[in-house]
C-alpha cells in the first residue's frame, strides 16, 4: 500500500482534496480518509478482505 498525502485547495464551496502525486497506474483500489490517499497495489490485502 502506498500512502499519498492530500493537497487542500480552497474552492468557492470550501476545499477540494486531491492527491499530492499521481495515483500509480497499477493501483487496484484507492481510499481517501481526508488526510491521505491509500493506494492499494497488486498483492495488497484490502481492508475487510478475507
Amino acid at each position: 500500500m502506498i500512502t499519498i498525502p492530500v493537497i487542500r485547495t480552497a474552492t468557492p464551496d470550501g476545499e477540494l482534496l486531491s492527491p499530492s502525486q499521481p495515483i500509480p497506474a497499477d493501483a487496484i483500489a484507492v481510499i481517501c480518509d481526508g488526510t491521505n490517499y491509500f493506494a492499494y497495489m497488486p498483492g495488497d490485502k484490502l481492508t475487510g478482505q478475507a
Partner: protein, 164 residues
C-alpha cells in the same frame, strides 16, 4: 459492413460514420470516507484541442455509496468548472452518463445539469460553461460527504471523446 477498431473510424458503409474515442477508463474503486471536504476520486487529462468545436465528452460513471438520508454529492468538473452535480441519499448505487458538448466554439459548452437519472427531465436549466478546450484541461470526478462515517465510491468510469 461497418466495423469498429480501436482508434479507427467506422468505415460507415461509405456514409462517413465516425467512432467514439475512449480517452480514459477505469474500474479501480476510488473511495472517500472520514472527511466532509470535496475529494477528487479521478482526474482525466483532456489534451488541448482533443474536443473539437462541435465535439463532446461523454462521461459514464458507476457509483456506490452509503444508503442514508444524508446527502452524498457527486460532481464532474471540467477545467475547474462544475458541469454535473448529483446529490443522492436513500439509494445504494447509480450508473450515470453525462454529455458535455461544445457549441460551435472551443470555449462554449452545454450540459444537462441534472440531479438524478441521466436523460431524464430536470427541474434545473441546462448549464452553459466557457471552458477553453483548445487548451489542455483536467476533468475531475469528485465526491462530497455530509457524514464522515459514510462512504462514496467511484466504482468505475469511462470518458469518451465524440467528434463529428
Amino acid at each position: 459492413m461497418m466495423r469498429a477498431q480501436s482508434g479507427v473510424g467506422f468505415s460507415g458503409g461509405g456514409i462517413g460514420l465516425k467512432s467514439a474515442g475512449v480517452l480514459a477508463q477505469s474500474a479501480v474503486p476510488a473511495s472517500v470516507t472520514g472527511t466532509l471536504s470535496e475529494t477528487t476520486l479521478a482526474t482525466i487529462a483532456i489534451p488541448a484541442g482533443a474536443m473539437g468545436v462541435n465535439g463532446a465528452l461523454r462521461i459514464s460513471t458507476l457509483w456506490s455509496y452509503t444508503n442514508s438520508a444524508n446527502n452524498k454529492t457527486l460532481k464532474i468538473v471540467l477545467g475547474g468548472v462544475q458541469v454535473q452535480g448529483i446529490t443522492v441519499t436513500t439509494s445504494s448505487a447509480m450508473n450515470h452518463i453525462a454529455v458535455t458538448r461544445n457549441r460551435g466554439a472551443a470555449n462554449s459548452q452545454i450540459t444537462q445539469f441534472n440531479s438524478g437519472a441521466p436523460f431524464n427531465v430536470a427541474s434545473q436549466s441546462n448549464i452553459t460553461t466557457a471552458v477553453d478546450t483548445s487548451q489542455a484541461q483536467n476533468l475531475t470526478i469528485t465526491g462530497t460527504l455530509a457524514n464522515t462515517g459514510e462512504t462514496i465510491t467511484l466504482e468505475g468510469y469511462t470518458v469518451e471523446l465524440l467528434n463529428p
